[in-house]
Structure formats: C-alpha cells, structure tokens
Symmetry: C2
Subunit: 181 residues, 2 copies
DNA sequence: TTTCAACATGTCAATATAGACATGTTTATA
DNA sequence: TATAAACATGTCTATATTGACATGTTGAAA
C-alpha cells in the first residue's frame, strides 16, 4: 500500500469520516504534510475496503442523500501502527517548483526575479499567519499521550518551515537590492 | 511540458551534458530542489529533442562508447525564459512522509517515536553539514548577473530549510523528554 | 422561492514517477 | 591483469497523481 492509504487510515483512526471529509482534512490539518484530490481518495477508499482495513455504513443526509461514513477496522489499526513505527529511509528531495525557477532565474530580468520573490514572500507570510492562528488553539502544552501532542509537533514543524522560508526570501530580496546600487 | 522538461532545459542552458550527467545533477546541485531517475530523464530528452528544444551530438568515449551530448537550442532557451519568468501559483503541499508518520505517532510507543526523531535529526544534521560545505565554495558574494548568484540563493534556501528542520526536531525531542518526568 | 455555496460520490484519460530489467564500456586500483 | 566502481543508455510495468468529466442534494441567505 502507498503512503496515501496510510494517511487515510491515520485520519480514520482519529475519527470516522466520509470521503468528502477526508479530502477536506488534506486541505486543512494535513496541508503542511500531504495532499490528495478526491479523485484519488475515492478509489483508494475502495481498495482499503477490499483489503479489509476499513468498513463503512451508509448514512442519510436530509431525505435522500447517501453518504458513506468510513471506520477503521482492527486490521487497519494494526497496519497503521506497523507503518507509523517503521523508519523513513534516506532523505528524499522535497520538490519545489519555485526554487527550481529561482535556480534558473539568471536568464530573466532582475526586476522580474524580485517581483516573483516578493509575490512568494507574501504567500508564505499569509500561510504563516494562518498556521500561527491554528497554534493559538493550544493554550497549554498537550500531554504526550494522545493525538493532540502529535498535532502540536507537526504544527510546530509547519511554523518552523514557514518562518525559515520567509526569512530566506527576505534575505534573497535584500541581496537582490543590495547589488542594485 | 512538465516541470522536469524545464529542469532539464535549465541544466542544459548552463552547459551541454549527457543524460547521465543530468541524472547526477539531480542528485547533487538540484538535490534540495527537484529529483528524477534516469528512467524518466532519457524519455524526456527524447521528447525535448522531438520538440526542437534541444539537440545533440554523439561523442566517442574511449574507443567505442557512444554518448549523446545534449545542447539547448534557441527555441529551448526561449521556452526556458518564458517558464522561469512566469508566476508559480498558490502554495502547494510539500509532501513529507516523516511528518505524516509523526502526525499519527500517538498510536506507537513513545520511546519508538523518540528513536525515529533522533534518526531523522541525525540525517538532517548530516545533510546540513554537506550543504554548508558547498557554501564554502562561495568565498565572496557572487554578482547578481550570472548563474552563481541564483545558485547561491538556492543554496541559502537549502541551509535555511535544513537548519529550521534540525531546530524543530530538537524541540520535538525536548518536548518528548520533558513529559517523561 | 430562487439561487449559490457547500456537501457528496464517483469515473476517466493523461501524465508523472519509481523500480526493475537489460546491456555494455571505461578507468582506476589492487 | 582481474575486478569493481563509475560511466553510459535505454525499456517496461506498475503505481501515483492531476484535471476534467459527470451528477445530484442540502442548507442558508437573498
């Protein structure tokens, strides 16, 4: 099974959900960590079900709309534990199209490069603000047992990454401007 | 054309290379930025050639070994410039399997989680040491024109990312240990 | 009461990527 | 001179991922 399967298993371990809710989780809580479109989620759910790792019950929303609420099975919980415990292997390249463009930016006008850096900085600042607002929900350090602690660690990781990125982009802009003179 | 095509175009804009050398570039200079296996590179080169964006000449290594040295064409340079100038669009999720595992780590023994954090920290420290050695090659700030400047900016980005990651992992370990008492 | 956004579930085709399979040469060193 | 690592180029299959296509319901607000 691929990583997406475990991501879904992990989310369902926290609470039972529909495919639609899963796709929303990837956009919110897992935004800094993993992503998947609904077109990938629904087939994956089918596979997990056939593998006996999840089950579902149909609930009626309103009068006719059927939704499938998925729940993790004991076999699914075991698979999740095994995966979560295993080591990750050597560091992989986190693909970053912006950095790639910057790497080859010597062939574009300097003011255009500055413009792109500024745009990007604005995006990361906005993201940082959002994620720091998420942090406010944790008024006290959550206890080590329980998912709130894991959530908190990953949240700190997101903040660390966004802060570092913002500082880096600010440095880039400074260096670009410095040489203007 | 996908991002890989532009990555190859960008590398060939710097200097003419064989497919093999391109694959090495992805492991070294582009390690923090993009990755591709040779099984993806060779077909992509074929496509770029058919699109008229690159050409090649066959050189003989030793007595019989033929290698294709690829060169970017004017059309390729134009395509590269157009791409490098364009904006990147909204922030994407940088997929990170380690963070995903950590996010679901409440279902594994705490000492196992600490072990994984320590392993990961060692990997990132090693990577940081390597990348900081690369930085030493830049004794002075390179002039804004020319690729050395772009290289330098991206290198700073790698250092910033690795430093932030190391600090974050150290914090995670501290928090894990703190609650031990 | 209409109408729009959010809820809800799927499929399909195209592309991207990884890993295995396949083969052979050159160069440095033991 | 054997041999191993690095050089060199490809293909193939399976899987992962995206974006478009397709359809319909529900709840809230105007």
């Amino acid at each position: 099974m691929g990583t997406l399967g475990y991501a879904i298993l992990g989310l369902l371990h926290r609470r039972s959900m529909t495919g639609y809710e899963l796709s929303k989780e990837f956009e919110s809580g897992l935004f800094e960590v993993w992503s998947a479109k609904h077109s990938q989620i629904y087939p994956e759910l089918k596979g997990l079900y056939e593998a006996g790792l999840i089950e579902y019950q149909v609930e009626i929303s309103g009068t006719v709309l059927e939704k499938k609420v998925y729940t993790i099975t004991p076999a699914g919980q075991q698979a999740l534990r095994d995966w979560a415990q295993a080591p990750c292997g050597p560091l992989q390249t986190p693909k970053d199209e912006f950095r790639l463009r910057l790497f080859f930016s010597d062939c574009i006008p300097p003011q255009r490069r500055r413009q792109r850096l500024e745009e990007r900085l604005a995006q990361h600042r906005q993201r940082l603000a959002q994620i720091e607002k998420d942090r406010e929900k944790f008024d006290t350090l959550p206890p080590r047992e329980g998912q709130a602690f894991s959530d908190y660690l990953v949240l700190l990781g997101g903040i660390a990454r966004e802060e570092a990125t913002c500082r880096w982009l600010e440095t880039c802009l400074e260096l670009c401007r410095q040489q203007e003179a």
